[in-house]
Symmetry: C2
Subunit: 714 residues, 2 copies
């Protein structure tokens, strides 16, 4: 039977699953064929939709309905044997045989559509599904229950289109088999970082003040949202594992199991961030040396207990030898030794290790210009390629630094052909406005995913990740009523899931999906204006943010610690390795092989040459790779200094325009959403003004160059 | 009977009252004449001294001793009538008549010493005492018990000298009648500021985690230390009054009374920081308007209850309309209205209000160069001169900014002849190394106290304060075993008390007193080296700190928030009003009347002219008053930029030398003190190197001017 889904508190915003999103499905007649918990979830979802919109749902094993189904959701293995072979007649004696005839026919149609492809049955995999249309019936077929769930949400996304002649008949399979969110949630409220590290949406939905939060309705609602955008794995605690969090692995495992129970009905596995020092801090062993026999035995036995309690447990996430976290370096071992230790313990159960490559010297000397943090992940990990077990995913941030508004793609992604990679994005807007600024990040992620490290014709980042790898992102969700603090930041979470499912999706198309689901423009007083305005506000918002913050790829320039708002020299004389080297003559980091840190040499051709060359280096990354005088002329024709002034004034002007546009939506969107976004836009405007004025004042005071347009520079 | 004084935990450092400090008193025979709780304290102190050193103590009412007293501590009103009149024969029939004969004779001697002065009896006041020597007897006379206590500690300070022919015969009276410490201790641990705001010595000795700490032995030990240096008033909570702390005034008054009970035996009164919004937040009144009748009634009734519980309660400390604290501005009233409201409630009981003048716009626009935080206290308070009640003390920070390593004296001190002023110092080293750096502040305070706002021949700051005013300082004490984190920072607390008692004392002489009491050099293996080395390390340490930090009086350049370590632009683009305006051509704040903010006009002549003049302005304040090009030539003959380089390299070299000197004291000082200071010196050296390199790099990158000596500037 369907699992009853508790409702979250009534003031929690439904995000992209408001009741209206289910109108098309819920007002029709649906037949579900198949068994299993996730099929129960599918039935439950349709029942809930019908309760609001007057449709019906039957299972194939029920009595035939009064009228034929409009929508059939069928597990192929659950169909009568005859129906599995395209071309055969359906077994008219089966229950609901009339409906299944449509399945059969759709099946044939789809097989034709897919022409030379393999026989559909068995080819959809654990999560794929086929969407077809036969006569008046829309059919979703899947090999496994998860596929049926994702198929249902595809139908929800399509709305009435799924039931009309334009229904896009297609086979859907995720490009990446694991689409994962890392929650940087602390169990104890951390004295500096709070309940959620880099969280901008209130407390954790999982934890509060050292205990499980146990708001099961909220976690279930979260699971639904994730399934509806394609996420299928969640790490439930911060990669910085403090004392209490370490114990989730052992005596507090029940707390993790509870979350797993709530996520499981939506096809989501839980993963756990663990400390590499666990054998020492939890079991009192004298060492955590990965080659020590007692340590291996402890991890094996501990992992056995984890799986005894949570049979579908996903695996471990580890931040080791990084920013103060313990790791194998303490024992003279390397990261392959460390990761393989945990991988060995997980292998018998199908679990995986996500081992972060975010390893660098966070105590470097700012006076030393030869050390380059950008080089660190490659220097540490590329030499280890081929040494990691098959169930290790080396988790690489997409850029070589740390989720800045603009960075090149990490060269590690092209450097480890013999290693599974998990490419890591940051949905939480640590460096991109902290969910107080509108900053739709999908265009940025899409650029990264489409980037071809070996040049035109070579494979893309998405291809590398899809080849046995994962996409992972740091979550932006909290116990805020809008989930993400800024209501428009919901789109980032949605888009991450969708791009992880299909990296070829266009960011504007994903935003369109999200708008349709969330705002129901079709029923608004001015559908066209609502949709157009949301696109105008959001489509280019990442580039707007880039314009008014750190220029030309140089990064940082944020307030140390909390990372919000401008402070040009905030990190300039610190040990963090994040410098801009501005002086009275010029700015930027020389990372060339010829005269700099040699970082450009970590890329394969053609990029190793492109980035090395002052002439060929893309403008937007110029200061990441080169130190140039203020009067250096960009490809755009502008000098660097004038570009800084111009983009900062332009970015600020865009925020003003963004605010004006949002105000014009009053009456067209939920008043609570409108008010929250308006409030955040006021802060964004204030902050953008600060960015504009401080960056311009800083470079004006330093360079002495006036603005050619005579605007005030302070 | 003497109050038994509990001993603090054995690992708490005795600071300037180790048992050895009492050797001279404790090995002799003492007679005490007089009654009262503070006299009991005196007897208790001498008893305790004798227990360790073999002397005796009797009271005048006891049986005569086996041998005459070496030391007589006598309250003049307790003497037989005849003894009060110089020249008369003592009453030999009185108990201890033989000893009192010495008193009588000493009295006569002293009267002669003081020649044309008024008759001694009645002229010593509530806290003064006379020290005399007659034959083999040292005599301390006082009108009131507190004077006897201070007299005893003067004898302790003098040691054997008090009992020899060189004993300095003198009348001692405090220059200031209130010598006060403000504890910025929170009752609840504040999430950002901790248990003690700007505290660098561990937790509070009064409070822990929302409750009284109740370490009475520690508080008593603190009271002894304070009495021994002359402090007689303590505000027990932070001027930023949060929710829990507000309630100390009402339902948590018992917590304050407990502290008062422990401080009272040493002549110290408690004061309480209160929130101006108390009637609203504690009593639910609709307003805290100082002219509202219900508000006045509430304060009167609340204050009545305070005095019913603590009859010798000192009064209220108020930070109003400052950095977010509530105040009379909310009701359209001014600071005189606000202060007088509380003064009226306190007047019937002799209580006083300390009303802080630290009022400025902490949300100013950094782009606006006309607003000047330095002007704020004068602009707000000078127009109110004459409007404050007689029991209001307007509490003025000694400089116009905020306890920087170098500032001019606040012009408010010369601007309010009709108002009692409390001049505020900061013993806690917020901006002067946070008790990780050696920074003996007495030379700085002494400069301030000797400054003559009206020029040579006019009154000094000390004179202004002594004229009905107070000296107040923010305490540097915590529950650290050395009281102050850095053992050498004890000297600052000691020196504050001593300078408040006698502003004419030389800082080196005060340090000498402190060395004698704390380190007992006479008994060390090398007395001369110990004393000389401590002076070498400490005497000039404030100027050393000045050399390696913000140059030429410009101030700040610290990391925002915690205020430790360098960050040249840390406050440059913030709302805090603390700017240096460095650009590629020059640096400094133009505060002249001619072209700047006009702040120089807040001074009377001659300083209003001196500071205005680029030629006459003292070098050390140049950048406080003027914006100058880097090649401006100082009185010293150096350019500003070369001065910056030179002083920073020099300051760093001095810290290296300081460390070397301290290391040479190994074996001559308590090993625990030596180790703690060595550890702090290592951090001071690291931090001084950062200051030197960052300041030099910043100005080198900005100015482009090389060091004439070719040292590395980064």
């Amino acid at each position: 039977m369907p699992v009853p889904t508790p409702e979250p508190a009534p003031d929690v915003h439904p995000a992209w699953l408001p009741p209206e999103a289910f109108r098309a499905v819920g007002s029709r007649h649906t037949l579900v064929a198949g068994d299993g918990k996730l099929v129960d979830t599918v039935v439950g979802e349709v029942e809930r939709a019908c309760a609001g919109h007057g449709g019906t749902v039957r299972r194939a094993t029920d009595e035939p309905g009064a009228r034929p189904a409009d929508l059939v959701l069928a597990l192929i293995p659950a169909l009568p044997e005859a129906d599995r072979r395209p071309g055969d007649a359906p077994d008219a004696t089966a229950a609901s045989g009339a409906d299944l005839a449509a399945v059969h026919a759709a099946h044939v149609d789809l097989a034709a559509v897919r022409a030379a492809h393999v026989d559909l049955a068995g080819a959809l995999g654990a999560e794929g599904f086929a969407l077809a249309r036969h006569g008046q019936v829309t059919v979703v077929l899947a090999d496994a229950p998860a596929g049926l769930l994702y198929g249902l949400f595809e139908v929800v996304r399509l709305g009435d289109t799924a039931f009309g002649p334009e229904c896009p008949v297609r086979v859907h399979r995720p490009a990446l088999s694991r689409r994962m969110l890392d929650h940087w949630d602390n169990v104890d409220e951390h004295p500096v970082m709070g309940q959620v590290e880099r969280g901008y949406a209130g407390g954790s939905i999982f934890w509060r003040d050292g205990r499980p939060r146990r708001d099961r309705a909220r976690v279930r609602a979260y699971a639904r949202l994730l399934a509806a955008c394609g996420v299928n794995a969640v790490a439930v605690n911060n990669v910085n594992v403090h004392a209490t969090e370490a114990r989730l692995l052992t005596d507090r495992l029940d707390d993790v199991a509870e979350i797993a129970d709530d996520l499981r009905p939506y096809g989501i596995r839980v993963h756990l961030s663990v400390t590499f020092a666990a054998p020492v801090v939890l079991a009192g062993l004298a060492t955590a040396d990965p080659l020590d026999e007692a340590v291996r035995t402890w991890w094996a036995e501990t992992t056995r207990r984890v799986y005894a309690r949570i049979p579908d447990f996903g695996g471990y996430v580890v931040k080791a030898d990084s920013e103060g976290q313990p790791g194998p370096f303490s024992y003279g071992r390397d990261h392959a030794d460390g990761a393989n230790l945990l991988a060995e313990a997980l292998a018998p159960y199908g679990g995986v290790v996500h081992w972060r490559a975010f390893v660098y010297n966070h105590r470097q000397d700012w006076r030393d210009r030869s050390t380059d943090r950008a080089r660190a992940a490659f220097d540490h990990f590329a030499p280890l390629d081929g040494r990691f077990r098959d169930n290790v995913f080396v988790q690489v941030k997409h850029g070589p630094m740390d989720f800045q508004v603009r960075e090149p793609v990490s060269p590690v992604i092209a450097a480890m052909p013999g290693t599974r990679l998990a490419v890591e994005f940051q949905v939480t807007q640590e460096y991109t406005g902290q969910q107080r600024h509108v900053c739709y990040l999908a265009p940025w992620w899409s650029e990264v995913l489409r980037y071809r490290p070996w040049g035109e014709g070579g494979r893309s980042v998405a291809d590398v990740a899809a080849d046995g790898g994962d996409l992972v992102a740091v979550s932006n969700v909290g116990d805020d009523r809008f989930w993400t603090g800024h209501p428009l930041a919901q789109a980032n979470l949605y888009a991450f899931g969708r791009l992880a499912w299909d990296p070829a999706l266009a960011p504007e198309a994903v935003l369109d999906e999200w708008i349709d689901l969330t705002f129901d423009p079709a029923r608004s007083a001015d559908p066209e204006m609502l949709r157009r305005t949301l696109h105008e506000v959001m489509d280019d918002s990442w580039r707007t943010y880039e314009r008014y913050t750190a220029p030309l790829g140089v990064g940082f320039m944020v307030r140390p610690g909390h990372h919000y708002g401008p402070d040009v020299d905030g990190y300039e004389y610190t040990p963090w390795g994040t410098y801009h080297f501005a002086d009275r003559d010029g700015v930027g980091v020389d990372r060339t092989r010829a005269t700099g840190t040699g970082f450009t040499g970590q890329y394969p051709p053609p990029w190793s040459q492109v980035y090395e060359s002052l002439d060929r280096c893309p403008d937007e990354l110029l200061l990441f790779f080169h130190h140039v005088p203020y009067d250096h002329v960009l490809h755009s024709g502008s000098t660097v200094i004038q570009h800084i002034y111009d983009t900062h004034f332009a970015g600020l002007a865009e925020v003003i325009e963004m605010s004006r546009r949002w105000e014009s939506l009053a009456g067209l969107v939920d008043p609570a959403v409108h008010a929250r976004v308006s409030e955040r836009l006021a802060e964004q405007l204030r902050c953008a003004q600060e960015w504009c004025d401080q960056i311009n004042a800083y470079f004006h005071r330093k360079s002495g160059v006036p603005d050619v347009r005579g605007r005030p520079l302070h």
